[in-house]
């Protein structure tokens, strides 16, 4: 018995003898499982759990922030929605001057928002496809980086500068085009005379063009990323079969990148829906309700809220604008979630 006990005690003295050695730290591990709990392990375990708590907490903070945004907007909007004397979804009025006679509806806001975003998408999607193909397939290798940089610079310009440029420089240049469309194709509801004058260019058409320029870099960046990931084997296979450059693209790159391209377009759509200042500066206010014409003026969700921002003093009228903001939040939430599910992980926003 005593021998066995001394046998057991001997390995414990071995680390003490070997302590000055360089591999003292490896001593306990070599003892075949006989380990003393080292003070460093406890400290590092505590450090580990504190750090993990911090990291997990930050992650939960993001989730909580988005949930809180929805929650607070809803809570602040509900009293005004209950006090609303007009139908929220179908009324074109937005009168909040008298808190006791609140009438606000989002019909006009919805028309203008959707119309301007659609115009932006229709213009930006083909151009972005072309630019992404150019940057990945057609541009000379050495020039591809600077060219890509130029397109990314479009995203660096602040939206207020786009709004300024749009109304002061671009609008007057687009006037002849708009007048021509109105005169010759005015029987199509899209090009009918709107509720603001084409003079000065403050129409949905101009806003749509400027929005297209703003969302172009987003769609291009996503599409470029996806086109770059086309499997080389497929591209080389098509080349080996004698396809021309365009045939290679149409048979390998485009089918592979289609979902990513659509996802990028939806991200661009989300951006166009929420654009505030550029649209606020460009679109001229109108006194009559909107129809389906591209030559209308008016407000989008975002620009309506921003235009009334200085009057946020009383809770009920403010709540009306917060209700509009809630609708915009839900819209962009849905569009972004859809984009993510379409891309399926191939693409990072």
């Amino acid at each position: 018995m005593a021998d066995r006990m001394t046998d057991v005690s001997r390995p414990e003295s071995a680390p003490a003898e070997r302590a000055p050695d360089a591999d003292a730290a490896a001593g306990p591990a070599r003892m075949g499982g006989m380990r003393h709990p080292q003070p460093e392990t406890k400290r590092s375990r505590r450090g580990d759990s504190v750090f993990r708590l911090l990291a997990t907490g930050s992650g939960s903070l993001i989730v909580a922030a988005v949930a809180l945004i929805g929650l607070f907007l809803l809570v602040k909007a509900v009293p005004s929605l209950l006090a609303n004397q007009a139908n929220f979804l179908t009324s074109p009025d937005f009168v909040t001057t008298d808190p006791s006679k609140l009438r606000f509806g989002i019909r006009d806001l919805l028309f203008v928002t959707v119309l301007s975003s659609l115009v932006a998408l229709v213009i930006a999607m083909p151009v972005a496809l072309g630019v992404a193909l150019f940057l990945t397939q057609y541009a000379p290798r050495t020039l591809a980086r600077p060219f890509a940089y130029i397109v990314d610079l479009l995203a660096a310009v602040p939206s207020i500068v786009y709004g300024l440029w749009g109304i002061i420089v671009l609008g007057p240049k687009l006037e002849p085009i708009m007048s021509w469309l109105n005169r010759n194709l005015g029987w199509i509801p899209l090009f009918a005379t709107g509720n603001v004058s084409i003079q000065g260019g403050g129409t949905i058409f101009t806003a749509g063009v400027v929005l297209a320029i703003m969302i172009l870099p987003i769609i291009t960046a996503v599409a470029r990323e996806v086109f770059r990931q086309t499997p080389r084997a497929q591209v080389e296979g098509a080349l080996a079969l004698g396809a021309t450059r365009w045939e290679v693209i149409s048979t390998t790159v485009l089918p592979f990148g289609r979902s990513g391209y659509i996802a990028g377009s939806m991200l661009g759509l989300g951006r166009a829906l929420g654009e505030t200042v550029a649209v606020l500066i460009i679109l001229r206010a109108s006194s009559s309700p909107s129809g389906l014409s591209l030559f209308d003026g008016g407000y989008t969700f975002a620009s309506k809220i921003a235009s009334a921002a200085s009057e946020f003093s009383q809770p009920l009228p403010t709540g009306a604008f917060i209700a509009a903001g809630l609708v915009l939040f839900v819209l962009t939430f849905v569009v972004n979630a859809l984009a993510r599910s379409i891309a399926g992980g191939k693409v990072n926003a």
Partner: protein, 327 residues
């Protein structure tokens, strides 16, 4: 009997020559693609040339960078935008101080703690008649990480006006504080966070796993590995991402419209009172019909673009001189 030369194949190859219609399609596609690029480059050049041409005179004025608009009448050409530059820079810096640590922590969470190494693989296809194996339940950790990365994407798409409204609803409406530059910084945090998180994530993913594993093998705890080995390796990329996020947030106008009032004089206090900023100044001077108004509008626009350009330049220099050497 036909003589078959040994140099030619017995059967004529089909793809020896490209037919005319295919060639035409190819040329048309090439032309369209070059046209698309020109269509993208033209607006950029146009905008920059316009702002430069209309704004350079303001920047050459002697008092532009040192004076505010206090006491300056709408049609006078003196005064400057010092108060607006201070406001823009102060709001963005406070936003950065809050958003960057949180953003980096979320990026660390998503890469180091959240992602399981196998969750990006798709389940392999099984033979038709094999019984379905029970799908292994995801850890709670994996679920939170997936929810977090989803919410970061959603937050990236939240419009600036909605973020401003949210801060208004919480800070001013519910908690009862008054409008201030601090509220603007809070809403800018919401806008800056997703960009910082994505940049951090990307940079941390680039750090080779061997580095981490060597560190663990030497007995270094996880938190020390992250703080002292992984983060410094990814640092320059994270700095670049932060600068780009800052550049994006500098030009946001919606929060300053909703959350702070405009002031023509310098206000150093971020917690109280009206404060000017470059976008707010542009917006306020737009309704000024005099030439001096236009002068100030374009000058402020050029100043804003210059600050953003400087940030981009610094970011490019940082990333050029210290990139992660990946295998």
């Amino acid at each position: 009997m036909t003589v078959i030369s040994p140099d030619e194949p017995a059967i004529k190859p089909v793809f020896r020559s490209v037919g005319a219609s295919r060639k035409i399609k190819n040329w048309v596609a090439t032309g369209l693609v070059w046209l698309a690029f020109a269509l993208a480059a033209v607006p950029l050049v146009w905008v920059l040339v316009t702002v430069l041409g209309k704004g350079y005179r303001a920047l050459l004025s002697p008092t532009w960078f040192s004076h505010s608009l206090r006491g300056v009448l709408p049609d006078q050409f003196n005064g400057g935008v010092y108060h607006a530059i201070y406001g823009t820079v102060a709001q963005s810096l406070i936003c950065a101080v809050i958003a960057v640590p949180i953003g980096i922590m979320v990026g660390i969470y998503l890469v180091e703690y959240g992602a399981t190494r196998t969750d990006t693989e798709s389940t392999p296809r099984r033979a038709l008649f094999q019984p379905r194996r029970r799908v292994r339940r995801q850890h709670g950790r994996g679920r939170l990480a997936r929810m977090t990365t989803f919410m970061v994407d959603i937050l990236a798409g939240v419009p600036s006006i909605v973020a401003a409204l949210f801060v208004f609803a919480v800070w001013i409406s519910t908690l009862g504080f008054s409008q201030s530059a601090l509220a603007v910084s809070f809403s800018l945090v919401l806008l800056m966070l997703p960009v910082v998180v994505r940049a951090t994530e990307e940079m941390l993913r680039l750090v080779p796993d061997d580095l981490r594993e060597a560190s663990y093998a030497l007995g270094i705890p996880k938190w020390k590995t992250i703080l002292k080995i992984v983060l410094p390796t990814a640092f320059s990329g994270i700095v670049t991402g932060v600068m780009l996020a800052l550049a994006r947030v500098l030009g946001e106008t919606a929060p300053v419209l909703v959350l702070v009032g405009y002031s023509r004089s310098i206000n150093f206090d971020v917690f109280d009172g009206n404060m000017a900023s470059l976008p707010l100044l542009i917006y306020s001077e737009l309704i000024n019909p005099t030439p001096a108004g236009q002068f100030r509008v374009w000058g402020a626009a050029l100043t804003l673009i210059l600050i953003i350009a400087v940030l981009y330049l610094v970011a490019a220099l940082v990333s050029r001189f210290s990139a992660i050497k990946t295998r």
